[in-house]
Symmetry: C2
Subunit: 352 residues, 2 copies
């Protein structure tokens, strides 16, 4: 469904001006009055006509954006952000910093949450454009070609955060999820661990989750381990899921000496389940996370994880959008450094 | 600045229809064409006229909402929510449930964060109305009379969550912050604690924070303690602030045997600082929270706190708005039950 090559090709297309009411009327072979009637009082239009017109509206990506007219300079000074989830603090800190920096530029933030659903994200892109958003913040590169086309057709500036791709033409600000997790995995294997399990988020339509697993597989290959030698379980990010999957792994045939989790939320859940099973962390089992959100430093033992510069990413993303809105051209893409935070949850493989 | 009596009086006023372009033109003594020119291409209007017109726009609370015309039935099916903060998970779970329930009614959620600033919240109410929000979710009762007037003038349905006031005319869904904290405080005093410190959020313009402190004072009075006998420190909700204030209290002249915190985030910070100071919790010092967010169950020892039904509150709030939008009349207000979650962080006062 998602093809990053396609996305990139789409992204290369110069922004075409927003389709007008006239464009829709022409394409649908009706009067502009009929088009607006379909949008404003569809009950007055015979179904057949209405359906044809709305099909064209979809096709051309026509999003009536009267709101944008409402403010001077045709600007609403409203920025939209679509994040995968509002639960657990994964995006909270970066988003807060993003909003604070936007405020310094006189911009107001409206946030939508896609629940990691590409379909829902596309609807929300449509909604935010129709509500007159001047620009958008999106998480990760992976979305339907149609979503990218919609952005291109409308010529609305957007910045992609939380991910980095050297080859990308998008305005992006993020970090190398694969390299960051590879560095952490090298430490895990370097401590002698070979029975390593991975608890990751569903990798389909989540490039960050996939890149992190690829990073672990890279490091495994470096020590001559086949990726299939590593237990891999995919589950949505939540403390409960981390705990449940950890319990399942411990009940399984192969006992890992280390469990690498796709983020801190899963890792904290896994740690709780390991303790509940009477295992000592890291004595019996090492556990690692990703993100370095606050809970990573609060749990006992502290969680060894990858620190993501969430605040910096939020601030830089706001600056990129402000630059784009003022007609400037920010660097494409922008790479931020991550670092490994060594706490107590990762130790050498036990001698036993 | 904020007067809840005023708010209530405002709230009693029947919703007046949104001011029209004509209303603005008449009040400003110009043509409607001039008004829309001021809004759409102000550069074409002499400054003096433009300023007079925009002043009237402000005064009447006229928010041109062309967006609302863009969808059938003059509805955008967009709901706005303004929460005090996106950081730490205080509102995350309730908001996620709110959005999931809205989706079942075909409604899309856009969220703004006011950083606990009434001024910023008012701007965001204005923004969300201008962007065509059909209805709003607001947190707590306390906001400027102007903010309530704006909502009344526009006749936009809204529901207030996270707070409850028996006397209120607002559509509200929440819990009794004062009674909930009073019940927890009774347990604290019941365990023999008399040297009790309170770490609360700034109580000005935060009715939830104030009600919780009042609940502790109620329970103190019941055991013959004067409220002034309890150390009270106000600081914004954050783990860092909880830790910093806890360290200050421990460095002070009076060592408390129990510290009651305004929420779990402050309590987790306080617990970390107590441990860092070499104190055992609850052996040397008992600590309590409020909210029962995930970290409350993750820290060691587990945090004794008040469980707030966040998911239920989010779901009910969405149903109230859906009912209001379909012309129905939901109960006003709706009270949810909280319960005390007893974990290990609260114990009897040490014999020493």
């Amino acid at each position: 469904m998602v093809d990053r090559t396609t996305n990139r090709r789409v992204a290369r297309k110069p922004a075409t001006p927003s389709p007008t009411l006239q464009d829709v009327a022409q394409a649908a072979g009706v009067s502009t009055a009929t088009v607006s009637r379909c949008l404003n009082s569809p009950e007055l239009v015979v179904e057949q006509t209405r359906e044809r017109v709305l099909a064209v509206v979809q096709e051309l990506g026509y999003a009536p954006n009267f709101g944008a007219r409402a403010l001077a300079a045709k600007r609403t000074n409203t920025i939209g952000a679509i994040i995968p989830t509002m639960e657990n603090a994964i995006f909270a800190r970066g988003l807060q910093a993003f909003q604070e920096e936007l405020a310094r530029h006189g911009l107001t933030l409206l946030v939508a949450s896609s629940s990691y659903s590409p379909k829902l994200e596309e609807e929300q892109i449509r909604t935010l454009l129709a509500r007159g958003a001047d620009a958008l913040l999106l998480i990760g590169f992976e979305r339907s070609a149609r979503a990218y086309e919609l952005l291109q057709q409308r010529g609305v500036p957007y910045v992609i955060a939380w991910a980095y791709s050297a080859g990308s033409d998008h305005h992006a600000i993020g970090f190398d999820n694969r390299a960051a997790m590879r560095a952490l995995a090298r430490q895990v294997f370097g401590l002698g661990h070979r029975d390593v399990a991975i608890i990751a988020a569903p990798m389909d339509s989540n490039d960050r989750a996939r890149e992190r697993v690829l990073g672990i597989w890279d490091a495994a290959a470096e020590v001559g381990l086949d990726r299939d030698a590593l237990t891999l379980v995919q589950t949505p990010y939540s403390i409960e899921n981390g705990a449940r999957v950890m319990a399942e792994i411990l009940a399984g045939p192969r006992q890992p000496t280390a469990v690498m989790c796709g983020n801190d939320v899963l890792a904290v859940g896994a740690m709780g389940a390991a303790r509940a099973a009477g295992l000592s962390v890291p004595g019996d089992l090492s556990i690692t996370g990703f993100d370095d959100i606050e809970i990573a430093g609060i749990v006992t033992p502290g969680l060894t994880t990858v620190h993501v510069p969430h605040r910096q990413m939020g601030i830089e993303a706001a600056r990129v959008l402000a630059t784009l809105l003022s007609g400037g051209a920010p660097p494409v893409p922008l790479l931020l450094e991550t670092q490994i935070i060594s706490r107590a949850s990762l130790g050498p493989v036990s001698g036993t």
